[in-house]
Symmetry: C2
Subunit: 221 residues, 2 copies
């Protein structure tokens, strides 16, 4: 895209991956137009042919800039970091950058997709489980995954006020929405003191606070 | 790491994410020492305290180079690409690079983690499902996910002999192990002609063929 081109962002207030992108847009101070894709209304607005033409997975988020269409939250965040101004979300040092990506992928690969709406729908509709079983399923992957994140950060010499230093970046962008989910599902974070500290430091920043699911144009009670 | 330092790679022949890294090591022509972490032996060798000290998720793969330890296959592949010689696995153009990452993440986030051993164990042990239910579960996410990949590649103007051009890269590195899983679980690939063509083009290259699960030091029948 050219720097003057407007970005359109398709998201949903409660989606953890849309939440990540909102934080990144805010940190980079990149303006965008928002289109709500309601995952529960009209049988799921993400399943329309129009939306599938943008995102064949029928998942949020999607970003469009001119004739450039991009899906997948981590790809969107790294694209913003590589093409837009504002503070860097990934460190320059290749080893540290790799560790930041690995931390982000623990969340984006091994925690979040397991609690995706389509997966919980399958557990309930096709496998016949009730909501408490689905909730316990989410708690299991959230608990195991976040404990790994705590370990990774606790033994990281570069860890500071935020996951990998004293400035927020990709790791924190992934962490905060996952802690939001953890609270929602009642995951006990007592044995994760570093994550709780980092979460509090992030929430004190407007870029994170303004991206919260409770403060979006499509927020519902 | 310094360029002379030896890389130790902890993997398992059948792991899709270890398979990705093997292809990347081969394409980049980076030598490494292999340590087998048998996911089924001794109650799971990935669960020992020694291995957890390297990888708190108790998952493969892990890469160690001197005092630098890295987990998560996509992070490992990008680190190899950024720090080692050999052909580039991601394109220079930021828009195309973002699309390659998004394709890789469709697989690494939204297909593969759902068929991870720990997830199938939960379905069987904690939720009481039998193997056919677990297999159908895998087929569902493999089928849906790979159809999205087919769409992404089919409408990509840069797509060529491989997913995003005429040289293999990160997208192909993720695709081939997932097609291996699709065959294993009996997913019908009839309506995915581009993926089948690309898969055949990859398999014709020694870097992919030598990384196949049937040809590893720890391969079992």
């Amino acid at each position: 895209m050219t720097s003057g081109e407007t970005i359109t962002f398709y998201g949903y207030f409660r989606s953890s991956s849309a939440y990540r992108c909102r934080i990144a847009f805010n940190l980079k101070q990149v303006p965008y137009g928002f289109v709500s894709v309601h995952l529960r209304k009209d049988g799921g607005q993400q399943k329309t042919p129009e939306y599938r033409a943008l995102n064949p997975q029928a998942l949020v988020p999607t970003m469009v800039s001119g004739d450039f269409t991009l899906t997948q939250s981590l790809a969107i965040v790294e694209w913003l970091d590589e093409t837009q101004g504002g503070p860097k979300l990934l460190p320059e040092d290749p080893n540290l950058r790799a560790k930041v990506r690995a931390f982000a992928q623990v969340i984006a690969c091994d925690i979040h997709p397991l609690q995706n709406l389509r997966v919980l729908d399958y557990l309930k509709t096709e496998l016949g489980h009730d909501q408490p079983v689905a909730d316990a399923w989410c708690r299991r992957w959230l608990g195991d995954g976040l404990r790994s994140c705590e370990d990774l950060v606790a033994k990281e010499s570069e860890s500071g006020r935020f996951c990998f230093g004293d400035e927020p970046g990709l790791a924190d962008i992934c962490l905060v929405p996952q802690i939001f989910s953890a609270h929602r599902f009642g995951v006990d974070l007592t044995d994760m003191p570093r994550l709780r500290e980092i979460h509090a430091a992030c929430e004190a920043l407007p870029a994170f606070a303004d991206a919260h699911p409770s403060r979006q144009p499509d927020t519902e009670a």
